[in-house]
Symmetry: C2
């Protein structure tokens, strides 16, 4: 494909996507494809000869679209959103097109410096505490996901807890980490990966609002110390996956300070809400956090992957992850004023992901982004009110931010059936969890294009499906 | 940005990139920006109001370009390449534009099934052994980097070596891993991350061609067993970072079979060469490898990030990394015929990276890709011949594939000065390593658009800079 063809084909892809966005509501939100549907239609081997781009473009429509679950549909209410936006897509296009690899400052200074600055912008925009600014001893970095960010936090915490030896001598099975039993599964996965061992992660019980109980945390730490183990890390949740519950960070922070434990805060979904002053209460207590993470690729219109990860003491992170072989030495790297982000993450290589975040923040401006957050929260409250006013459905927990956890009163099996019924309809896509053992439906009003009519339609689809099921079951 | 603006701005970005490719040879290959040059020109905070896209586009030219090191320049000879190509850029654009998140099969079946099939295509295209095909007990997955792939291999190996307990009970400091002292720094970094501990990675001495010495590996394993430690993992290198040296895999594989160790093969850069039958000798011995990885984002025209990672026993990997909380359960996930790739990697979320690889393989076809590999190898041989014929320069090691390691005869300080001289000229960009302690220049002829004239120019630039330095030093 020469440069002229790139222009022509590139325009065609842009137009294809614009057309796609215009017709996105016509598709079933969740793909109706069955296992193997695409696999069976793909050739067994790569072609020997090149094919024209138009053939590939046609296959996007014919082969790929039927297997797509439309995360950008305004009727996508499942999980948490993974929103893109026109500016973020164009930022990613630039990153791919420039094709720079920002492992070192020297391998593209703009890639590093834009990232540092944009992550400082977010500290200010979210009113995060000063220790996360790059001007001091901390700073921010873009990771692919909160899973990876929390892994890096664990490694830095281990480095600090073991006086620098932890990453050299290997585990001895004594380090213990703590989080709530509602924390994301990635915390446990990270403990496995880091060789802490999932058995050495304490999942602390929660209160009736699914918030970690600080007295249980203290008790667990005490028990571990008495048994000769070494508590070193607590992950507090600002917005759990199941219910967006917010742990009592001020209490947790106090415990961490008293016990000299690393406090990591996971605000993967909820963090974006801190754009709005009225939602910043959830961050109370993070003034002494050692690390913090949230996902612009969820609620901040920046396409996956784009996680923002902050540390108060970047040196602990660099000590944990920095290895400098001869072939990566650069003159600039010897200069203290320069960040080599390879030492802040698991992989060596890195894309120019700051571009898309920069494009989003500049294209929308903070006011428009705050308005989006508020609109989503209002939509969720509206939906929660309908649930509360209904005879057949009930709220599982008071809604927080843009997430509503609810269920039909007819019990677990019915709710599970209902979930699959509405998802198979293609009209909407929701997901589920279990709260205190009970099967619970989750509706997150967070897709960029979701309006009142989509939430209203979701409620209609749910009620009608429930009525059909009730009638069928009778 | 509404949909009409997305069309207009999208076309503008495509045209910007096409223009960029046309003028790319006019830029200094390595950015001449100094530390802070960009940082100082960026506002201190995000804007409150949105800005027009044209202002952002203008800043790409004004602010970003001066800080770009041009990895897509045909005179980029540093490190290893990180090539993109028009089809891969458009594949990435589709991935960003569709914005699907393929953590589970159900969250976009096409994302998973295309990936599985394309990685099977590569098994065939590179003549990799049967155990890596998805039809059996193994299979392939796209990771962000070889660092992450090797980390996953370590975790799966630990799972197997400890009878499934290793990821639960935490490290006990007895597991030992082995690789050559020429292996990539990510192997050591991964051992740290996984809590194996870098002290428990044995860096086995190499022969005069920088290939692991099997008898030293055997001796080291024996010593560790005698000391009560538990050898469990060997990483063989097919193409080391410094010299593209190929370890004697048949011997290493025999040792791994005899000792029941996990054999992982890192062919990050060199793997692509196996497209050509004449280069497949380097893979001899991988018939019994447990895992294998190479980077299409290096030499296969697929923009970063795109690493291909294969395991012979996918269950070991899934056992190490699989955690299934209620909120991720799907009906399809219960079906054995379905892959949920979240259990094959560190992060939970994933982009639709298979698209770009699919676009590349179809747009070029295997014949054109083989021709590219052969062209680069020929260019490197040509360059190596010039070095060999010169009075002032010498080869540090016989060239392998498309990499030439060489040096001026005037010693370490001179070569270091020479490197910085030519890189600061902006005409070419090369990198360095140390071999047996000696400062060595590396020229990798692997950028997609590199032609004879660019390599010829590199040689001229090097000779002229050396002459200037000799004269200045006199």
């Amino acid at each position: 494909m020469n440069n002229d063809e790139f222009r022509r084909c590139g325009h065609a892809v842009i137009d294809w996507l614009a057309d796609y966005y215009e017709r996105i509501e016509e598709y079933p939100v969740q793909s109706l494809a069955g296992p193997g549907d695409l696999r069976r239609r793909l050739p067994a081997r790569a072609p020997e000869e090149g094919e024209p781009f138009d053939a590939i473009l046609a296959d996007m429509e014919r082969l790929i679209l039927p297997g797509i679950t439309h995360w950008q549909s305004p009727s996508f209410f499942a999980y948490f959103p993974a929103n893109n936006s026109p500016p973020s897509v164009l930022g990613e296009l630039f990153a791919a097109g420039l094709g720079v690899q920002g492992m070192l400052w020297a391998t593209s200074p703009a890639c590093t410096e834009l990232e540092t600055r944009i992550l400082d912008w977010l500290v200010e925009a979210l009113a995060l505490p000063e220790q996360f600014r790059s001007a001091g001893s901390g700073g921010g970095v873009i990771q692919d996901s909160a899973s990876s960010a929390t892994l890096c936090a664990l490694l830095a915490a281990r480095e600090r807890a073991t006086g620098g030896a932890g990453n050299h001598r290997g585990g001895d099975g004594t380090l213990v980490a703590y989080t709530s039993d509602q924390a994301h599964s990635s915390i446990e996965k990270d403990c496995r990966i880091a060789g802490i061992g999932s058995d050495n992660l304490r999942k602390i019980p929660v209160d009736t609002q699914f918030r970690l109980r600080p007295e249980e945390l203290e008790r667990s730490i005490r028990t571990d110390r008495e048994a000769g183990r070494v508590p070193f890390f607590v992950c507090g949740c600002v917005g759990t996956t199941s219910t967006l519950a917010v742990d009592p960070l001020p209490d947790i922070a106090r415990i961490c300070r008293e016990q000299a434990l690393w406090l990591h805060v996971d605000a993967a979904m909820a963090g974006t809400a801190a754009l709005c002053p009225e939602f910043r209460g959830m961050h109370a207590g993070i003034e002494s956090a050692d690390s913090y993470t949230f996902n612009p690729h969820k609620w901040l219109l920046t396409n996956f992957d784009c996680n923002a990860f902050y540390v108060a003491d970047r040196q602990a992170l660099i000590n944990a992850l920095g290895i400098l072989p001869e072939y990566l030495k650069t003159r600039a790297g010897d200069d203290d004023g320069v960040i080599d982000y390879r030492d802040w993450q698991v992989p060596l290589g890195r894309r120019f992901r700051a571009l898309k975040l920069w494009f989003v923040l500049r294209s929308y401006g903070l006011e428009a982004l705050r308005a989006m957050v508020r609109r989503h929260v209002d939509l969720a409250r509206e939906f929660a009110q309908w649930v509360q006013d209904s005879d057949d459905f009930e709220l599982a927990v008071p809604p927080h931010l843009n997430l509503v956890c609810f269920r039909h009163r007819a019990g677990d099996a019915f709710n599970e059936q209902l979930l699959h019924e509405v998802n198979r309809s293609g009209d909407i896509y929701i997901s589920h969890t279990r709260l205190d053992g009970a099967y619970t439906l989750r509706l997150c009003a967070g897709q960029a294009h979701t309006e009142y009519r989509h939430v209203e339609n979701a409620w209609r689809v749910l009620r009608e499906a429930a009525e059909r099921l009730v009638n069928n079951n009778q």
